[in-house]
Amino acid sequence: MDVDFYRPMRLNYQNNALQDEIKAACDTDVERCLECGKCSGGCSNAHIFDYVPRKIVQLVKLGDEDRLMHMDALWICVACHLCVDRCPSQINIPSIIDYMRQKAYRQGIRAERTNIELFHELMLGLVKKNGRISEAPLTISFNLKSKQYLKDAGLAPRMFFKGKLNPFSPRVKDISQVRRLFIKNPRLKEV
């Protein structure tokens, strides 16, 4: 679905349903926002976000799920938690971002401008298969699937000779216990 990112934010589609949903799921009340902007001032990635933390809180107040689920910030937030620790009202913005990302994922809304979602899926695929991950196979499969064939070609030999790449896939012995967690939570898409 195309989203018009230049559509102005207006209070006229005020809708409290999302606000209540966030309050229950994230244990955080956006009504307490003082609009001081400390969250965005501290944000590690504010300079590349389409919506900075303060605007994200505003979008929740406006009930604008559409924007929240399509924004780049869902995927490129580094979860450094500076925003929540600086917030004088303890609004848990990382938790709001996690919640909206998971909701978008359940509805099949893909990240539009990054491959980060693909990386998460490949990593969890390895956890499901082996119970543990090692960086080398994960990096290779990600670079192949995202068609960045030569991305780490210069780095790999340097790391190999330092013994940093473990070519063997580590495994949990009782793997059925781990697979059970995935079977009971079937939302992950196979890639």
């Binding site: 590690s44 580094v78 620790d85 998971q102 990054t114 998460h120 119970g131 940093k164 473990n166 781990v178």
Partner: protein, 290 residues
């Protein structure tokens, strides 16, 4: 002191030297580590990005295994794992979340919610007397000017972690000072390195990691000391890309704090895996012995 040990995936591959030096330092300080049997990946950061219930379940199995070997405390040297296990306990203390995770894992999780989760830095700060470290000191780290780098997840979010100051932490500085090193005052000790985006969105790591390297250089540090395998990997493996981006040569060794503690406690550079770092710390180590 007996404590359960959760190394996490990185310490068995990319960050093998962190595992080596952690085990050596703990042994010397009288901390008996019992590795959690058959532990699984904590899921960071993929699981909590896509599926909350799966994320809690992955932590729940690990916490249940700690409880299974009758331990009440678990330590991990990885900030990502620490964050997952610690918030796992917090989540599982909610009855509805716990009941869902019990149905998923097929095990009772009542006593697993009493497990106390420590980051290694926190364990060495809160449970080990620094005077004891000074007594065991063999080779003081004199002449080293270090930037202690904590990153995000050791001290944040403060409501969950409850350790040190969220933005101006001092625990690692004090440890390094206890073994004779000098630590610099700098702006980026708890800023983000780009975390889990090393592979998936490398430009973010080059950007944020570059700011950390530059801040350490401006503060006059000759090495950055880390307590997280992701911080180490980002700042070390992406250092050449950062240098190209910023047109500046940093040549900044990124060293685990346990490697330096290990040296100070009498182990050799080889024993603590100094040879495994991409940016060579050799010049720095020579300046120390001089």
């Amino acid at each position: 002191m007996d404590v359960a040990y959760y190394p996490g995936c990185s310490l068995h591959a990319l960050a093998h030297e962190y595992d080596l030096s952690t085990r050596l330092v703990c042994e010397r300080l009288g901390i008996n580590l019992q590795e959690v049997p058959d532990w699984n990946c904590c899921g960071a950061t993929a699981a909590h990005s896509l599926d909350h219930s799966l994320n809690v379940a992955l932590s729940a199995r690990n916490l249940q295994l700690v409880d299974y070997i009758k331990m009440k405390e678990v330590m991990t040297p990885c900030s990502g794992c620490f964050s997952r296990l610690k918030s796992g306990v917090t989540e599982l203390q909610k009855v509805s979340v716990r009941e869902e995770a019990e149905a998923t894992t097929g095990n009772s999780l009542v006593s697993a919610t009493d497990v106390k989760v420590y980051h290694l830095l926190q364990l060495l700060t809160e449970k080990v007397d620094h005077e004891k470290i000074e007594e065991l000191l063999v080779k003081p780290l004199q002449g080293l000017k270090l930037a202690a780098y904590y990153g995000c997840l050791i001290t944040r979010p403060k409501a969950v972690v409850q350790f040190d100051d969220p933005e101006q932490p001092t625990s690692m500085d004090r440890l390094l000072q206890a073994v004779g090193a000098e630590t610099v005052k700098w702006s980026h000790k708890a800023e983000c390195c780009g975390g889990g985006f090393a592979i998936s969105q490398t430009d973010i790591v080059v950007d944020l990691g570059g700011q950390v390297l530059e801040a350490a250089r401006q503060a006059g540090a000759s090495a950055i000391v880390v307590a997280c395998p992701m911080c180490q990997a980002n700042l070390d493996t992406r250092q050449r890309a950062i240098e190209a981006e910023r047109a500046r040569n940093y040549d900044m060794p990124i060293i685990y704090f346990t490697q330096l503690l290990g040296l100070a406690l009498g182990y050799s550079p080889k024993q603590v895996g100094m040879n495994r770092l991409l940016t060579s710390p050799n010049r720095l180590l020579k300046s120390m012995s001089a």
